[in-house]
Amino acid sequence: MKQKKSFGEIVNVIVHKQIFIPLAALFILVVFNFIADLIVNDGTSFFEITYGMSKDGYHVLSGNLITVIDNASELVLLAIGMTLVTAASGGQDISVGAVIAIAGSVILRIVCGDGSDANTLQAPIILAFFAACIVAMLFGAFNGMLVAYFKIQPMVATLILFTAGRSIAAWINNNELPVMNAPSFGYFGKFIPGIAVPTPVLIAIAGMILIGLVLKFTNLGLYAQSVGINPNSSRLNGINPEVIKLITYVILGFFVAIAGLIKVSRVQSINYSVIAKDIEMDAILAVALGGNPLGGGKFNIWASILGAYVIQMLTTTLFRYNVDATALPAYKAVVVVVLVVLSAPVVRERLNRLFASLKSKNEGKEAA
């Protein structure tokens, strides 16, 4: 009975998918860069990827696209955790930047030891990373506890660490700014010798696979969603909303620790006041760009991840066209406003209705 779908219907289906907005945004940025390449025509292309030699004598990939997927890695990891937190608790964690500073500080504190020698590791990186994971997950649990058991608004609950986190980070290292120049410490933020793809990209992919498996083989996704939609009815169905909320914050803490490792490994040092500055806002933006309702409930991790790439693509594009430094945030804001408005559920519903009415008019005409 079913007839072949017309082109219009296929478009309609795609447009109604949640992932459409970040995809469309990405597409627009790609087209923009493509056209700009043609117009500027200075012998370079945004899409060019070169296979060059780094200073250490290893082949590495470079180019704008590589920069995008490389620098978006931390944001991708945070977007994964932030989406879960948003879905379950109906709010966002604004302390992720500060907790990255804490995690980074813990890592440097352990690998630098007494700080006597900045060129050799005083302790294995894996140990430092585990310690950072535990610390970041504890802080995640702290946030989760306030949100789940004390029913404090997530933004207010996480405001505590947002304010205090960077001071805690400084305190962990006795207020010093440690530097760790051992080449192996840079593997996580730069390149592993012999592998041409930047390590953060690989870590981000590993994070995606991990969360993909968790969502597939556990009920976490379903539970987080139902808790976000209606905690009372999920309780009646045997789900403990408090525990689910707490778990999502702890998971976010885990991803924050990974992001912290990448950040400190990139520059092999730390500056408490600027590390991962404002990244919480970008992470929330990624969730919003993914079309996820910020009030909790249904979510799509992959749309958030795409949202993270869109944000980095935008940043890299603006750097490429050398937009005046003072005007840069304004350009970013304009694009963000358009995207967020388009991805807002209210607007999408209106648009859907508009399409539907246009369609019925057309059908009416055909019938007549």
């Binding site: 030699m53 780094s54 305190w171 500056n271 490429r320 003072t326």
Partner: protein, 358 residues
Amino acid sequence: MKKRLLAMLMSVTMVAGMTACGGSTPAPAADPAPAKTEEAPAVEEEAPAEEAEVEEEAPAATADGELIKVGIINNDPNESGYRTANDADMKATFTADNGYDASFAYSLKNEEQIAAAQKFIQDDVDYLLISAAGTSGWDTVLTDAQNAGIKVILFDRTIDADESLYEASIVSDMAKEGQTAVDWLASQNLPEYKVIHIQGVMGSAAQIGRTKAMDDMVAANDNWTMVTQQTAEWNAETAQQIVQSAIDSKEDFNVIYAENDDMAKGAVAALDKANISHGVDGDVIVMGYDCNKWALEELLAGNWNYDGQCNPFQASYIDEIIQGLEAGTAPAQKTVIMDEKGFDAKTITQDDVDKYGI
């Protein structure tokens, strides 16, 4: 119910932990003297919120009549490496051995600093040393100090008050720092200067001063061109992205002028990735500011070319002025601009690194 109780208990302990180590932003986390960290939180909790914490450096027993009593009001040493070095310098200079009885107060908030100043006036200090968080609102308290016969010396930051209210003001001249660096660059006599300029947070005093010298030079000379001028907001990683973007666009450049060391470090990471040589005898000249110890070590290794100083060591200047005043001579001028060096990778020595690295 049991679970809930447990959760409550745990949160309470965590909150307590927070206030003890982190919530008390202005003081204990900031305290560089490790011996104090244990007792500091208790002091902080008792101190009223609106009053900056005041801690006694010298024990009361040693405060005999011969010591000069100074009250030092500074910004939170946690603010930056500069401030940490500044505070350590103050603590090292104003000791009982040097004839001082010093008390310290820290805050990033103007009103807390003013409250601390009032307390110092009540304590009847001889000198009040102030690095003000904000420029306004100081007139009343400075007049009070003057009436009480307390001499005021400003350091690091100026305030909007009548010159008669303070003895001297010891400051850095950011425009001069910028000029020193750009003059050094001009003295390299390159046939062409193609500059990637990485700026600090727009509008900060350091950014304005350090940018102006470079802007003027580029505008005045035909062989100086600005390839890219962007703000990385003091952030190493953003600086890396800016330079990466220039490399990906195959821009031709031979100078990286970063307004602090962190950003220079980020820029160098991008150069290394693309195997572009830098430093002494390299293709690209790398310039930074602030003289962090690790940055001076990069200079010593020849990886960078130049590092400009932003001198945090005001204590010796203040000491000199106080000794002068004690001997009855007023300082020659109200505003003392500190000597600030620029280090060249070709001439820097290990002694410089040890002495000037912060």
